[in-house]
């Protein structure tokens, strides 16, 4: 059985390695989250917002041209159609409702690609709550449209200027902010990372993805299970949502796609499952990229949402135990797939998402296999990158 234990571990990974200053907040969450999740009134409010505000269920789309090319039955789970343009909002809806039940008055968040920041700013506007989002200076540059959106939504975007000035550092800053403002503030983490109960809590909020996949596949293929489920992994929230109801169905292959940047061994990569070793990052025991001395390595990926040196403890466990297969995809492959998918199916994916598609060139499968790829987000935020590199990839 794959699942989280009562101490907050998936196998050897997980836990809550946090300074005492955060203990009351994290404890409060830990004690409350399952009860709130299982509460009927909460479920009603959560489900209604997912339907009427987010636009769920998101379609499961049979990509016929892609399927023909790859001699498989490829379905795309259209999280790009969620309000704000990615799966991230499933989680922020859940957390904002939880924060309200915990009587929190202020919201903070970190963001990499800006999608989680936008999704957080969005639910804060919806609930009329003030919102501060930390974002690495480099990411502020490369995801400018999302910075603009957060501003439109009334959130304050604070640059993280330390370290690699990307997602890892934004997370550090958000945690520091929380330490400095423990009362009345809820920290909406954007992926299945952080101290317990975050990984499990975020996974539950995202589990609506595979919940829908099951009945959608049943309708379309006559079976609720795909042969293969593919998702990109930054922290791992869209992957967690994609895998959730299949974790203990061993016949469903789970593919976790990481960013190899310039190449796994180039020194500029974010392929955590290959380059990572056991350690602690952002309060959780997991796999992470680090020096032999335990210093966290600054990762690299062209994609801000995958540019993170760790993965969520669930994924560390899935990969270490062999339950999931990890695939590393370079900047180059991801870029090529962006243009390819845009032309083949009329869908411009987020750069993060493009990585998931490139897995099709890496994995083995039987002709006709039912493959679901989580189309985690749309590419509007990355248009500058796509256009800048256009000539390199199109001739």
């Amino acid at each position: 059985m794959i699942g989280i234990d009562e101490k907050g571990y998936y196998g050897e990974f997980g836990g809550a390695y946090i300074p005492e200053m955060l203990h009351p907040n994290v404890e409060e969450l830990r004690k409350a989250y399952v009860g709130i999740w299982e509460d009927e009134a909460f479920q009603k409010e959560f489900r209604e917002l997912l339907r009427d505000y987010v636009g769920r269920p998101t379609p499961l789309y049979y990509a016929s041209r892609l399927s023909a090319k790859y001699n498989a039955n490829i379905y795309l789970k259209r999280e790009d159609l969620c309000h704000t343009g990615a799966h991230k909002v499933n989680n922020t809806i859940g957390q904002i409702l939880l924060a309200k039940r915990l009587n929190k008055k202020y919201i903070i968040a970190e963001t990499g690609a800006g999608q989680h920041g936008v999704a957080t700013a969005t639910v804060c506007a919806l609930m009329g709550m003030p919102c501060i989002v930390y974002m690495g200076e480099i990411d502020i540059e490369r995801q400018a449209p999302n910075v603009a959106r957060m501003r439109m939504l009334g959130a304050e975007v604070r640059p993280a200027k330390s370290g690699s000035r990307t997602l890892k550092d934004a997370t550090n800053e958000a945690i520091r902010h929380w330490i400095n403002h423990p009362q009345d503030t809820h920290y909406i983490i954007g992926s299945v990372v952080g101290p317990h109960p975050y990984p499990d809590m975020v996974a539950r909020f995202q589990s609506v993805i595979s919940e829908e996949m099951m009945w959608q596949l049943q309708e379309k293929t006559g079976k609720p299970d795909p042969d293969i489920a593919i998702a990109c992994v930054g922290g791992g929230s869209n992957a967690a949502g994609t895998y959730y109801h299949y974790l203990n169905k061993e016949h469903v292959r789970l593919i976790a796609v990481e960013a190899a940047g310039h190449g796994v061994n180039s020194g500029e990569s974010a392929a955590t499952s290959v380059l990572g070793t056991r350690g602690i990052i952002h309060g959780s025991r997991t796999l992470l990229m680090q020096t032999p001395d335990g210093q966290i390595v600054e990762p690299y990926s062209i994609s801000a949402g995958l540019d993170y040196p760790g993965i969520g403890p669930m994924h560390a466990h899935l990969i270490a135990s062999g339950r999931a297969e990890a695939v590393s995809v370079t900047d180059d492959e991801a870029m090529q797939w962006t243009y390819y998918l845009s032309r083949m199916e009329g869908i411009i994916p987020a750069l993060e998402t493009s990585h998931a598609f490139a897995a099709l060139d890496h994995i083995e499968y039987k002709p006709g296999d039912v493959i679901v790829i989580n189309l985690s987000g749309r590419g509007d935020k990355d248009l500058n990158t796509f256009i800048t590199h256009y000539d390199k990839y199109n001739d």
């Binding site: 101490k7 836990g15 005492e20 203990h23 423990p182």
Partner: protein
């Protein structure tokens, strides 16, 4: 009894614990800083293991850590430096760092090495109390090391009692719910908190940390606890000072004022 326990057996008031980041401003400044602090008459020294992602620390300490790593600081190097300093002073030494560093070194190997180079205690702010109890307490205690846990204004009475039971040196009392270097003045709410803790009659002595930066805040802290811990303010003094020795003597002098060199 290790040196920390001995210190508190000898002295219950006005304890001055100074934190600095090893290998900062220069790689080889660790030993001179320890010796200068000892010479300046501090009671206890907290040696920070520089870390890439020091969650519980403020920007000053983070920047000093980043600089130290860039200088080439490693744990092995640090152990050598401490071992060398230990030849020249008997001042109690505490190492402060993040648990990931310990894990990578190998927990057992780390604790033994700490003991071997003459360190007396550890502060590992992100080591969960539960894990400590379950996995590391026996070994650490059998090595005679003191582990200090943090408490904050939000820590429950029950948890404080548990921490008091587990601590074998001193309790690190976070002055307010803010990371190091963040606040300037001591507020009524903090005083209430100090009084509340005093009334609990804990077994372990308490040092107040976070936000202590001047003679005045140090004196106030000493009124409500056994002493205080200064970190960011000292790092800034090192950063802006002429040299480690001068900066250290001057800094400690300003904090102690009348008491300058009192223990010398």
């Amino acid at each position: 009894m290790n040196r920390i326990q001995q210190l508190f057996a000898d002295k219950q008031e006005d304890i001055l614990n100074i934190y600095f980041t090893a290998g900062y401003p220069n790689l080889e400044d660790t030993e001179p800083t320890i010796l200068a602090l000892a010479e300046a008459g501090v009671d206890l020294i907290e040696v920070g293991m520089p870390y890439s992602d020091p969650l519980a620390d403020g920007p000053t300490i983070q920047e000093s850590g980043t600089a130290a790593i860039r200088n080439g600081m490693t744990l092995d190097k640090l152990f050598d430096q401490i071992a060398s300093a230990r030849q020249h002073t008997e001042i109690p030494l505490v190492m402060m760092g993040y648990f990931n560093q310990v894990m990578q070194y190998g927990e057992e190997r780390f604790f033994r090495k700490v003991k071997e180079v003459g360190v007396d205690g550890l502060i590992l702010p992100d080591l969960p109390v539960y894990e400590f109890e379950q996995f590391y307490r026996d070994q650490i205690e059998s090595l005679g090391l003191s582990v200090s846990f943090l408490i904050t204004p939000q820590t429950s009475e029950e948890r404080i009692r548990q921490i008091d039971k587990l601590s074998k040196g001193f309790i690190y009392m976070v002055s307010n719910s803010s990371i190091t270097g963040a606040k300037k003045e001591i507020t009524q709410a903090q005083l209430d908190y100090f009084n509340r803790i005093n009334a609990m009659q804990l077994d372990n002595p308490r040092l107040i940390g976070f936000g202590i930066s001047s003679h005045e805040t140090f004196r106030t802290a000493c009124k409500y606890a056994n002493g205080a811990i200064i970190g960011s303010a000292f790092i800034k003094a090192l950063r802006d000072g002429k040299d480690v020795h001068t900066a250290t003597i001057e800094f400690v002098g300003k904090i102690r004022k009348s008491e300058v060199g009192s223990r010398k």
